[in-house]
């Protein structure tokens, strides 16, 4: 159903689009809708598997408690490095589309790999590693393509559209898995095969409908590691990277937030997944309007407001509200936090990064953020163990305030200089 919208804007029109008379979503451009469709389809496939994976490993293959706990965390470091390498390669061979496509294809093949791995724990670990590597590889080139596919003043909206479509896929995934299970008499293999078919369709849509970046500048010299070092020498980019790390450090992770809400309100464990659903629903609904708002009033204030909302969520975990009001307010704020930061931060970063190093720069920022988040979640666990959850969540709120203030000091009033850099870069 999205195919018609993909083709709408100027696919074969050689002149740059005139946006004086165009409003709203049309401003975002067909390529963003194409990328959104790829993400939507891929997320259906991924979430289908996520929904059944525990059952597959435990009931289907009879794995025992926590045999797979170790898988978690090990790959985070590896995918971080791979993301940087992927970003650099995409810039060097000047084709982010094909690097992203490789990532999507790896995750698609992993769905069949899971089937082929049988009961071998080692093989299953390897297949999951391939799946994550694919995700690590594709994220930065995809976001770089979005920044290159929409005009700078509409980037917030472009990321909003992409993230909203992505979330729709995540919503449909578990439903699709349930439908397949109902049709296949509860056979889990059928979900894996269906998931592969859907992922393959995603790769095909990427190949056929997503346009790669087009460089106006002639390809004089390929990007070299020295250029990457130069990227880090540019003050605005360094400030942005530092801010991304600080903000990443303010995040303790969904697991902890939902766990504390569940304990506070003694929510029946069966309702536990609904906390995540509530957050995603808010995210889904707010992504586009907040992206558009960010384009209008500025992206930095929106990002800072997002982290302020996160701080409020931490305080609410042991705050004055109770019952349904607490859940409604906390989940609304938490969804707002995602809508105001995830895509908007990329929209903020895109124009600051020189075009020939866009993917590397985005990979750098995302990796910095991810590693800071990893460190913060480990430290939060430690603080919980030492001082209990109340003190730990208050500490997290304090860290969030510090991160917001530091980011404001780093980036406010420098936005003019950053856009100057972009023009002269």
């Amino acid at each position: 159903m999205y195919l018609s919208s993909i083709d709408r804007p100027t696919a074969d029109d050689p002149s740059p689009p005139q946006h004086s008379g165009r409003r709203g979503l049309a401003l975002v451009g067909g390529n963003v809708f194409a990328l959104g469709t790829v993400s939507l389809v891929t997320d259906i496939s991924a979430e289908m598997v996520t929904a059944i994976l525990p059952a597959y490993l435990v009931l289907g293959l009879s794995f025992s408690p926590l045999a797979y706990g170790m898988i978690d965390g090990i790959y985070t470091g590896a995918t971080a490095v791979l993301r940087l390498v992927g970003g650099y390669v995409a810039d060097r061979i000047r084709t982010p589309k094909w690097v992203a496509g490789t990532g999507y294809a790896m995750s698609a093949v992993a769905k069949l790999g899971l089937l082929a791995a049988g009961r071998s724990a080692g093989a299953i670990g390897l297949v999951i590693a391939v799946d994550r590597a694919g995700k690590g590889l594709r994220t930065a080139p995809r976001d770089a393509l979005i920044t290159l596919s929409a005009p700078p003043h509409a980037l917030g909206r472009a990321f909003g559209v992409h993230r909203a479509m992505d979330s729709v896929g995540a919503f449909l995934g578990p439903l699709a898995a349930m439908a397949v299970l109902a049709a296949a008499g509860q056979v889990l293999d059928a979900v894996l095969v269906t998931s592969f078919c859907i992922a393959a369709l995603g790769v095909l849509i990427l190949v056929l409908f997503v346009r790669d970046r087009h460089d106006d500048r002639p390809a004089t010299t390929p990007v070299s590691p020295r250029d990457v070092a130069e990227l880090l020498r540019a003050a605005p980019i360094r400030r942005l990277l530092l801010a991304a790390c600080l903000l990443g450090f303010a995040v303790i992770g969904d697991g902890f937030v939902y766990l504390l809400l569940q304990r506070r309100e003694d929510i029946a464990l069966g309702w536990f997944p609904l906390l995540a659903v509530g957050t995603s629903l808010t995210y889904l609904l707010l992504a586009i309007p907040i992206g558009a708002l960010a384009d209008r009033i500025g992206r930095l204030p929106i990002v800072l407001a997002g982290y302020a909302a996160l701080c409020a969520v931490y305080l609410l975990l042991f705050g004055p509200l109770h019952g349904w009001p607490l859940l409604a307010v906390a989940l609304a704020l938490y969804g707002f936090f995602y809508a105001a930061t995830d895509g908007v931060l990329m929209a903020l970063a895109g124009p600051v990064l020189p075009e020939h190093l866009r993917t590397t720069g985005i990979a750098l920022i995302q990796t910095g953020q991810a590693l800071a988040y990893l460190a913060s979640s480990v430290l939060f666990g430690l603080a919980w163990q030492l001082w209990g959850p109340l003190t730990a969540s208050r500490l997290a709120a304090a860290v969030a305030v510090l991160a917001v203030v530091a980011t404001a000091l780093l980036l406010i009033n420098r936005s003019t200089t950053t856009s100057d850099t972009e023009v002269t870069a």
Binding site: V193, T194, I205
Partner: protein, 347 residues
């Protein structure tokens, strides 16, 4: 606003003309539609194939299945149907009921049937009487894993897996609950119990419990507590809501009928990714005996009497067989029953 318009004016337009398309729009759409149809065909074909190849259920036998105390062995078939066979003649006629469970255990007319209604459906801890009539159902979240009933039939415990909470992680958590059928006291998770680790109060967000086994006083229990990569044997006090750690590397404890020994899964060389050796701990001497079963065992073993352990071994095709081995390290593993798991001696 003004600042952004200037950027726009100065910046080169980032959506320059596309490279000449190899495919026209019509060709691309046609290709997509054709591929969608083909892939949908593959998916639907596979779904049809698997749904017709599903293992058929065994017909319920005319003989009614009673789980009252008697020299019988309770097991589930691979499809989860409740069955009994004579304890002394396991090769004899198997009474099969229509009732299905994913894990089952029974003692003194209390039957605990942990049942998931479909893979993504609701899970409940069904407490049945000896004639398989429901007395209580407790909603549980997660995937059925372990279930136990105390010898008197009063205390019931279960363990379920809860998957990772986010798409980015593959973290497993377990939720273990205890229900007192006499007082109606229900703990859906033991995570609220106070932990004494190595003699000191301990708290950590990653505490997980599984595999409860009860003593005859219907208050003291043993279980596995996981935290920070360790799998401790803990002794719990249900009335006091406390547990204390006893030793590391013990999973899925199962107390012998005489209450002197605990059968458990010992991670091979302390590393559970290498599998588990079925072992027995003597509570008085702290001595561990490894059973003659050298294959990895991933089950909470059941004592058929004071010297025999029953446990499941799964084949690569997913079918399960029930085996026994002497608890004192002697003898050899023996096949007890094919197409069976979740054993419990009814008397």
């Amino acid at each position: 606003m003004t600042e952004q318009t200037t950027i726009d004016a100065e910046t080169p337009q980032p959506s320059p003309p596309p490279a000449p398309p190899r495919f026209g729009r019509a060709a691309r759409i046609t290709t997509t539609v054709a591929a969608t149809v083909a892939l949908a065909g593959v998916a639907i074909g596979y779904v049809q194939l698997t749904s017709s190849a599903t293992t058929p259920e065994a017909p319920a036998t005319a003989q009614t299945v009673s789980l009252a105390p008697a020299p019988r062995l309770l097991t589930l078939t691979s499809t989860g149907q409740v069955t009994t066979v004579g304890k002394d003649n396991p090769g004899g006629t198997r009474a099969v009921s229509k009732t299905k469970c994913d894990r089952i255990y029974a003692a003194a007319r209390t039957v605990a049937c942990l049942y998931a209604d479909g893979i993504l459906g609701t899970v409940s801890m069904r407490i049945l009487d000896a004639d398989l009539k429901e007395r209580k159902a407790i909603p549980v979240s997660g995937i059925p894993n372990r279930v136990r009933v105390s010898t008197s039939g009063r205390m019931v415990s279960w363990t379920a897996f809860v998957g990772g909470d986010s798409y980015a992680t593959l973290n497993f958590a377990t939720r273990t609950g205890i229900y007192d059928t006499k007082t109606g006291t229900l703990f859906k998770t033991l995570e609220t119990f106070d932990v004494i680790k190595d003699g000191k109060p301990y708290q950590s967000v990653d505490v997980n419990y599984w595999g409860v086994t009860f003593t005859d006083d219907d208050n003291t229990f043993y279980a596995t507590l996981y935290t920070k990569g360790h799998r401790y044997l803990v002794q719990g006090d249900f009335a006091a809501r406390t547990v204390r750690t006893l030793r590391d590397h013990v999973e899925c404890p199962s107390l012998s009928p005489d209450g002197t020994r605990i059968a458990f899964k010992a991670p091979i060389n302390g590393d559970s990714t290498k599998g588990w050796r079925l072992s027995v701990l003597d509570l008085a001497t702290n001595k561990v005996t490894r059973t003659a079963e050298t294959r990895s065992v991933d089950d909470q073993a059941a004592w058929l009497d004071n010297s025999t352990l029953a446990y499941v071994q799964q084949h690569d095709d997913g079918t399960k067989d029930l085996w026994t081995v002497p608890s004192d390290g002697s003898g050899k593993p023996k096949l007890l029953l094919r197409n069976a798991h979740s054993p419990a001696a009814l008397g």
